[in-house]
Amino acid sequence: MEIHVPIQPQVLFTPGGLSITNTLLTSWIAVALLILLAFIITRNMRLVPSGIQNVGESIIEVLITLAEQTGGANARRFLPLVATLFLYIWVSNWIGVLPGVGSIPALRSANSDLSITAAMALVVFFWVQVAGLRAGPKAYFLKFVWPVPILELLTEFTRPLSLALRLFGNILAGFILVEVMLQIVPIGVPAIFLAVELGVGLIQALIFAMLTLAFLSMASSHGHAEEHHAS
């Protein structure tokens, strides 16, 4: 039994030197879905919401509550980035569970591609530095020098790296697990693992977003009381 472990995504077309992979295609589908949802929810917006606008508002309320629990009182200003990451990762993970995604070569779960998760981690890295600089340039540069110089530098790089690897590893592992199960027990059992994939997809989206929020909060308030996460 030949088990092929496809870590690298398959390149579909190469328009002018860029490579469009099957994971990129799936991520575009997720983005299109989210844009469509946003458009439908905000069309004919009323002050007193009803229907689908109500659903959208309740989702936002849950996110705001979660953000304030995790990041403190002024965590709301980070919410656009954090909520976008959460919704995008959640939607693209759940799209990866749909029949066809993974078995058709043209579609593959977006976050099973290290390039995509690393890109998001890069964005987070950039904004964490910006948040730190905005809170106080002097304190920002000083923290690399005072207690233990190399430690701060190391954590600035390892935290986004761990974000990328965590999401990538979880989603890729789920993908390979389902693929292996399909070769071993083609009927019934893979469905159980797909169901697990749903849970993992949601939780990993939540973890990525919450950690981003925690990093941003810590960066914009260094020197004050540390949040409950270390690292």
Partner: protein
């Protein structure tokens, strides 16, 4: 010398999952205990348990990535 890459791949994830497994178990048991003593704080405790587990699980994921890389290099 025989190719030991399959063994390496198996050991990477096998040994690498021991620590995080124990860690997640400890986290879960402490969280259960705390929630039993203070049911009202249940939601907050659960949230922090999940985020603690994310860090712990990440270590196991690193080991898994190494196992995948080794697995792909089997000749």
């Amino acid at each position: 010398m025989p190719d030991s890459t399959p063994l390496a791949a198996g050991l990477a994830i096998g040994l690498g999952a021991i620590g995080p497994g124990i860690g997640i178990g400890i986290l879960g048991s402490k969280a259960m205990e705390a929630m039993g003593r203070n049911p009202e704080a249940g939601d907050t405790i659960f949230l922090r348990m999940i985020s603690g587990m994310a860090f712990t699980e990440a270590i196991a994921i690193y080991a898994l990535v190494v196992a995948f890389l080794l697995f792909g290099r089997i000749h």
